[in-house]
Symmetry: C2
Subunit: 672 residues, 2 copies
């Protein structure tokens, strides 16, 4: 799914929405539905104890509380639990046996100086509330404490997901578990596991062992590992929706089972990325017998009632060039490939229904022949989502949440599945189940995935959980500062990522200039990289572009510094000083990166960005000088903004992430 999204248009449409005033007294993420501050604080010390008021047969709550206790201990360094009061957790029941979008995730948290209570209808609600409690912990000279507060919270959308594509690049179980920990921390509830692709089939099938045997390079999940991950997710209130993409994106299936393809084969695992010819043969009964057997086996591993069939980007040439398939289409009055795909989907839908599963698929599956129980996941845009729900299907929005695009948290944050002023009827809006961030796998490895997902995903999670009016970008970034460290404490590697890769790229040399350059840069967008670099599945992803992080903290920090410097206030002098020092240092980066020399060939990829930072620093310094001199002539700003436009373009495979801050500074200086 390569087409980049018209994000700017979406964001612009959304920007007319009302914005709730931010509350600087907390760093909660996602912001709860309602929050009322109280008086006083609840002390956290060795006496603090968590009790479960409602012994439930579901061990999930006990395990969730145990993890909560451990994390609270690790955050504070305190070995708690020696007293009798603290936090009392109470649930009405364990919740659904197999969690669905109907699960009640609401909770009410009351913190008083004498103790706290967390009440929820289900264990899942209690788990959401425990995450909130952890985010409320603070310290000062009196020690650790939680402020008195009443929070009544529930999600805005029932389906809040993350897709991870493990087909194009494999991710081992521990990498998946890390993401599940992070998802739970930001109250996401669907792990959409994209398990098959042209480049790999990633699940052990015992019934059809050549699927993983010949289609995976031995990189697949055993059934035991699948069960473990599904249980791990359930323990965190997260559903696991498997996706087996068909009829296209399916080369890897045919390596072991060529007879289900629409052309004879043989097939080999696809190493390139894109859209390829191999496609299931929808005209043969044995295809459906095979799929029925496959679904029967997999349904035992994946208890979720939803099942994703993919259905995107059917290339079509195998269907067009087969006379047998063409005559089948004539016989069944199927006008084109889309009609044939709908035929296939209808058969598939019947198989899924027989196994108690509801079908989910990408935009392209939308067809009048499909039952209205089908869920359509929109990757092409919000218009496609609107069409689906108007026609009576349930819908999930992914357009605008493609985190593989390497765009800013802000750009995703401002995409709303149902923006203020949406043309949807109340009925239509009710069919919008929620949204899913998509981590497609072309450019990720087990080493880089954490930095590609986090902390940006927290912004999308907030969009899907919090009230629509929660959309103050600066406040979102302020709270993301706290979240990135909390997420790191869970074991996620996004913060350690750039320094670690920089050490290797520098061949073990201490290279602060290389590190600084990478921290001030971000990877070019997905499409740009695809155009600029010939990549296959086998290319090592160890370059400067892999070391840089999308939307790095430098981006939002420098923007905050500029805002602060331009607005007279108690910290504007120190922000000015910070900017002055940074701008003065940037021109030294390129010579220092260059001096790493030829012994660190991979470091040279950072040179264009380092040079561009030098030019950017000069413009920034000039703007600060102009600030002292008073109003600037309009042509001064115009020339600078033209230069900034060119500095915004890719520098090799990197893009400077601090141009927008300097642009705001130049504009601010010009507007004085």
């Amino acid at each position: 799914m390569l087409v980049p999204l018209t994000l700017l248009a979406l964001a612009a449409a959304a920007s007319q929405d009302r914005v709730a005033p931010p509350d600087p007294r907390h760093t909660l993420m996602p912001v709860p539905a309602s929050l009322t501050w109280g008086e006083g604080r609840l002390r956290l010390d060795t006496a603090f104890t968590v009790t479960i008021g409602s012994p439930s047969r579901d061990g999930r709550l006990a395990r969730g509380v145990a993890r909560f206790r451990e994390r609270l201990g690790r955050a504070t360094g305190l070995l708690m639990g020696r007293g009798k009061s603290g936090l009392a957790v109470q649930v009405k029941g364990p919740g659904e046996k197999v969690q669905s979008p109907a699960e009640d995730e609401s909770y009410v948290l009351e913190v008083r100086s004498s103790g706290a209570t967390l009440e929820a209808a289900t264990t899942v609600g209690a788990l959401r509330g425990l995450e909130t409690v952890l985010q409320l912990v603070e310290a000062d000279s009196t020690g650790w404490w939680i402020p008195a507060v009443r929070i009544a919270d529930q999600p805005r959308f029932a389906w809040r997901g993350l897709l991870i594509d493990v087909g194009r690049h494999w991710e081992p179980p521990e990498a998946i578990k890390r993401q599940l920990d992070g998802m739970a921390a930001v109250k996401l509830n669907v792990f959409h596991w994209h398990l098959s692709e042209d480049q790999g089939f990633r699940v052990e099938s015992r019934r059809f062992p050549r699927l993983q045997g010949e289609g995976s390079d031995s990189l697949f999940y055993t059934q035991e590992q699948i069960r473990e991950i599904v249980a791990y997710a359930r323990d965190r209130g997260i559903r696991v929706v498997p996706e087996f993409d068909m009829p296209g994106h399916s080369t890897a299936w045919f390596v072991g089972y060529p007879r289900y393809a629409s052309a004879p084969g043989p097939y080999a695992i696809e190493r390139r990325f894109g859209v390829f010819a191999p496609t299931f043969d929808p005209t043969r009964e044995e295809t459906y017998r095979f799929l029925d057997g496959f679904v029967a086996e997999m349904a035992k591993l994946f208890p979720d009632r939803y099942w994703h069939i993919g259905g995107d980007e059917v290339e079509g040439s195998q269907w067009k060039s087969s006379s047998r398939i063409r005559s089948f289409m004539r016989a069944h009055r199927l006008a084109d490939n889309a009609a044939l795909q709908a035929w296939f989907n209808r058969r598939l839908s019947a198989i899924l229904t027989r196994h108690g599963r509801r079908m989910v698929g990408w935009d392209e599956i939308l067809h009048p022949a499909l039952p209205r129980t089908t869920v359509v996941q929109s990757w092409r845009g919000r218009d496609a989502l609107g069409r689906s729900v108007r026609e009576g299907y349930s819908g999930i929005l992914s357009a605008g949440y493609y985190i593989d695009q390497m765009q800013s948290a802000e750009s995703h944050y401002l995409v709303d599945p149902i923006p203020d002023g949406s043309a949807l009827t109340a009925e239509g809006a009710a069919r919008v189940l929620g949204g899913e961030a998509c981590m497609w796998g072309e450019h990720i490895t087990p080493e880089t995935i954490d930095s590609r997902i986090w902390p940006r995903l927290a912004a999308i999670a907030e969009r899907l959980w919090s009230p629509r009016e929660v959309r103050d970008v600066a406040d979102m970034y302020r709270r993301l500062e706290a979240m990135r460290i909390r997420l790191e404490a869970l074991g996620l590697g996004h913060e350690a990522h750039t320094p670690r890769m920089a050490r290797r790229i520098a061949n073990g040399n201490d290279a602060p200039a290389l590190l600084r350059t990478l921290q001030l840069s971000e990877p070019v967008h997905f499409g740009e990289r695809s155009r600029l670099q010939q990549l296959t599945q086998l290319t090592p992803l160890v370059y400067a572009v892999d070391a840089a992080r999308p939307d790095p903290p430098a981006q939002w920090r420098f923007r905050a510094l500029v805002t602060d410097a331009l607005r007279p206030g108690p910290t504007s002098a120190s922000s000015l000083k910070a900017l002055t020092d940074a701008f003065a240092a940037w021109p030294d980066l390129a010579p220092a990166v260059d001096s790493l020399g030829t012994e660190a060939p991979l470091a040279r990829d950072a040179l264009p960005a380092a040079r561009a930072l030098g030019r950017l620093g000069a413009i920034g310094a000039e703007a600060l000088a102009q600030l002292d001199r008073g109003p600037a002539p309009p042509e001064w700003a115009r020339a600078r903004l033209v230069a900034l436009d060119s500095l915004e373009r890719p520098q090799g495979l990197l893009r400077l992430s601090v141009v927008s801050a300097v642009r705001a500074l130049v504009q601010g200086v010009a507007a004085r």
Copy 2:
């Protein structure tokens, strides 16, 4: 095993050994047995290909070569393998079915500009050689290459191990696999897995499920995970020797099976650390029936022919206070607890023999009643090792290799199992199988273990592999600089550790002064921490002392800077400048750490070290000033050295790691 070692005495005895001149042209670690440079270089480009000349039925070699290719690709960013020549790997055979200390690990590597050959008797030898090849890779303006060289290499000792204690603190499978990757990189070949302790029993037994069911807090390895880790280790030429410590250190066994203890119980998992009363009952037949059944089950999981029974630190009070056990001792003429333990060990040895296993145990098991096939692991000192081998037992040295002590790589590096001038006969020396580093588990968690093991373990690995004469400390540290990054590239977290924990300790604030303080510090020694801090198994290990690394790079880098500054040469001016800048910066650390304020309570633990660094910086600056002024009066140095003595003491739970560098500077200035 709490008794700290008389390391200094060992090191002093060893220091009379001959030292081979270092070769600055390589960063190999361990240094090979013989190396001859050739002319020219072998180019690494996309054409470079690895071929296996000897198709062997052992898939290990193919998998090892696949890993090699991937790591080479990740080091260089090149997708290789498109040509026909490069490295040809040839083995005579796969090696032993179950690897033993007799496995041939030798290899011969020849690199010419036209191609390279790696020949070995076994797959294990080839794996060792592949690690050497990766360490030879270099780059310059011509691109990536390997220098022409001939290396004929084999280990000095057959048993080169790492013990990891997962009893006191659990380590998940992925943490273990990371250590195995690191071990293979430095050519270690025994993973000694300390699987049971007073604080936890860590293996799934299906025959006796209450062992893990009640003795592990649900933190144990399933049999499937054990098999996977044993296979993972074998793939890397590493044996897995399980240790089930008995008759002492065994509280966790008795939680589920109190009837095998020497006193009635009930028992609970021990949370404190130390030596405790619960001890197997050696007087009952049912104890041996139980152990026979247990060994039978476990022997299926652990194919290694060696089996560690522990046998250390039997506390003895349960034996002394039981009239039944005392009368058993009288009846069997067992004079004391040691004799009773020997009785137990003899029975255990017979059980192990029946299951095809050779017994290994700690010093305390040494007793004339034991068969000479027993292997004694010496933790009490080299004298104990000498006694064992003189009496005809095989021996392994661990005294001097206790990495939980938080001492320097140097201190371990200079401990030699058979130093030059050893009093052992040739026969006795031949019974010294090798050595093992011990990572005891009191003070480690999954989060900290990498930083406690690496990179120091590489120095011990070199001691056990390389010729005795390889013992130049400065050169070892020079090569360790390269190793630490190579080990990080394998996924080990030692380098990322301190920055990551510093971010959390600073409560998410950017805190360069806290980070710098931690990087210039190290944890106090094991015994010091045990005295200064009340710790149990449940205490969170998230303090400044856990964030600092033992023997951090700052230690050896500052020593090298001082050496360089004092010895006129091309870089001495820049080294002087680096020292001047550092000393000037240290007095600013304490105010900056202090300014983190009460919102980051855990950061306050670093204040004493930060303040001490201020004082140390002042002494350093004074010494540099004195350097300009010419010869210093003797009382000048004497006063400074006294001050340095006090700065060498623990500062809270931290110790400054840069005192030795300043001491060398003061001494150098005084000696002018």
